[in-house]
């Protein structure tokens, strides 16, 4: 039974996926269509409201908001995509080995996940980027370190359940090595769980990145990020509310769409998680 053949998505999920695709496409394409870069200032064109030339207006330095939104999207998607990929790989590998090997390896890994799960997410992120510095690399590392433990737990539970199953015994009876069993049988079977979890993780990770950047300890200006743009627009909320509102709407839309898409995919791949 192939997951791809039976994958049925409901209309809301498809709408959410289309929204995500449009946002990603926009983030990639828009910078090619506008002539300016995200940090090009035009001090004769500051604080222009939305117009035909600047669809989303310009900020206090005359930078085109649309270009900055798109670049911000590129950064948000790239940072969170990398972080989710990294924590999925780390979590899946760790969880799979712990579940399959059991014993001391399992015990050690579980205690380590306990430690990582004990930190409140936002404070762990602040600890890493605040003390080690908010470079792009540190942000990705911090976000990956937050997500991997939950992933490892879930994959481990799945691998543990697999260990006792007959087809694993059968493979071993046929002379398969541990390595072959892990790669050909265990990995394939825990992959669904890992992918479901990963699709659910993207939204929260984008939100974490935006929160950090909003606080000023994530992506650093002049590089744009939706969180940075909201924070920069805040002091001008009275006179130019669009500066903060437009990135707010885009960020909310992205997270909402990712949440819907993630839950829809989770439901389609794993009927047990069906919500009531």
């Amino acid at each position: 039974m192939s997951g791809a053949r039976t994958l049925r998505l409901d209309r809301a999920t498809i709408a959410a996926l289309v929204t995500v695709a449009l946002l990603v496409a926009g983030a990639i394409i828009v910078p090619y269509t506008t002539r300016t870069a995200y940090d090009v200032q035009d001090l004769t064109q500051t604080l222009q409201g939305p117009s035909a030339e600047h669809w989303f207006g310009t900020d206090q330095f005359g930078r085109d908001m649309m270009t900055r939104l798109a670049y911000g999207g590129r950064i948000s998607f790239a940072v969170s995509g990398t972080a989710v990929l990294a924590h999925t790989v780390i979590g899946t590998t760790g969880g799979m080995l712990a579940g399959f090997l059991g014993g001391a390896a399992d015990g050690v890994l579980m205690r380590v996940t306990d430690v990582f799960l004990a930190f409140p997410d936002i404070l762990f992120l602040i600890l890493i980027t605040g003390v080690l510095g908010p470079s792009l690399l540190n942000i990705v590392i911090a976000l990956s370190l937050v997500g991997w433990a939950g992933m490892a737990r879930q994959v481990r539970a799945e691998a543990l359940a697999l260990r006792g199953q007959e087809f694993i015994d059968a493979a071993r009876a046929l002379g398969a090595t541990d390595r072959r069993i892990v790669v050909r049988h265990v990995l394939i079977n825990v992959l669904t769980v890992a992918l479901v979890r990963a699709s659910l993780d993207v939204g929260p990770v984008i939100l974490s990145e935006a929160t950090l950047s909003f606080l000023g300890i994530g992506i650093q200006p002049p590089m744009p990020s939706w969180g940075v743009m909201i924070a920069e627009g805040l002091p001008r909320l009275r006179s130019e509310p669009y500066l903060a509102l437009i990135p707010s709407v885009v960020l909310s839309l992205a997270i909402l769409a990712l949440t819907f898409a993630g839950e829809g995919i989770a439901e389609a791949l794993d009927p047990r998680s069906r919500r009531r």
């Binding site: 430690v115 409140p120 605040g130 000023g216 909402l256 009531r276």
Partner: protein, 307 residues
């Protein structure tokens, strides 16, 4: 119960060691030399060596870690790197009560709002109210609360001018932050209440209660809600942790002098001891909250026995 409590506390020890170890290591990896930060550039090597010895930095790393643990046990987080001679505990002592008050207020509102909403939605599944509640809870989870804050400030403070934009001190200053902060906990509590009441309503004893002619209110309140309350109570712990971490961000938006501002200020000033103390305090707080909720679960549900 006492044995269970003892077991849980022992089980917590490795977590505490791991958490403090990570904070210690990250602190060592921080750029900059504490001696230079605290005492400025010292040209005299003897003075510098004495300062280093005074801070214990001349010892091997494992010894430094043990001393770090020792001072944490005495709730001593050291001195601020930025404000000379001011203890980190003094900075936190001022900021923490504000943040905890804000978080607790938000949680109270969330419980008072979330439980009735969830109950109402569960009693009429798939009704307009149920759909509305589902949409609201989804928005509460998915829309970043600093985005909500932007909208509320724009509407109530700048357009309608009913409430102050930012600041702290009067009851009016509390309204918007609490409103923003209660959203996620409310969404969470509503969702769990709805689910657990729905689950209880499907049980046989509810049908029995209805069959023997009890009025609907008695069935819902005495049978359904009371049994669902066990699950709801334990989710309050998670809602409270949402409110506490949310408070850190909300404070920044509304200019409230709590832990959030202390933390972000510390990050900008590279005041590492303050950052470390905040992270350790909140992690400890969350571990205790977790434990309290597990104990509450055991105390509330007579079916659960911990040997």
């Amino acid at each position: 119960m006492p044995r269970y409590l003892a077991y849980r506390i022992v089980a917590m020890l490795p977590i505490i060691v791991g958490v403090t170890l990570i904070v210690f290591v990250v602190g060592r990896l921080a750029p900059g030399d504490p001696v230079q930060i605290l005492f400025g550039d010292i040209s005299n090597p003897t003075v510098e060596a004495r300062a280093r010895a005074q801070l214990g930095l001349d010892r091997p790393l494992p010894v430094q870690y043990l001393r770090f643990l020792g001072s944490l046990a005495r709730l001593d987080f050291g001195s601020s790197y930025v404000y000379r001679g001011i203890r980190v505990s003094a900075i936190i002592g001022q900021a923490l009560p504000i943040s905890l008050a804000l978080g607790t207020a938000a949680l109270l509102v969330a419980v008072l709002l979330g439980v009735p909403l969830g109950l109402a939605a569960a009693l009429r599944p798939r009704s307009l109210l149920d759909q509305g509640v589902r949409l609201l809870t989804l928005l509460g989870v998915a829309v970043p609360f600093f985005v909500v804050a932007v909208g509320l400030v724009l509407l109530f403070s700048l357009r309608l001018r009913w409430l102050p934009v930012s600041g702290w001190g009067t009851p009016a200053h509390l309204v918007l932050p609490v409103l923003v902060l209660m959203l996620r906990p409310t969404a969470y509590i509503t969702r769990i209440t709805r689910l657990s009441v729905l689950q209880v309503l499907g049980q046989d004893y509810i049908r029995t209660a209805r069959a023997k002619g009890l009025p609907v209110s008695a069935v819902t309140l005495r049978h359904a809600l009371r049994n669902a309350a066990i699950t709801i109570t334990t989710t309050v712990g998670l809602a409270l942790s949402l409110a506490f971490t949310g408070a850190l961000v909300t404070e920044i938006i509304f200019g409230i002098p709590g832990m959030g501002r202390a933390t972000v200020t510390a990050v900008f000033q590279r005041d590492y001891p303050v950052i470390e103390a905040v992270v350790l305090l909140y992690t400890a707080l969350f571990l205790l909250l977790n434990l309290a909720m597990d104990l509450a679960y055991a105390a509330l549900d007579p079916r659960i026995h911990y040997a």
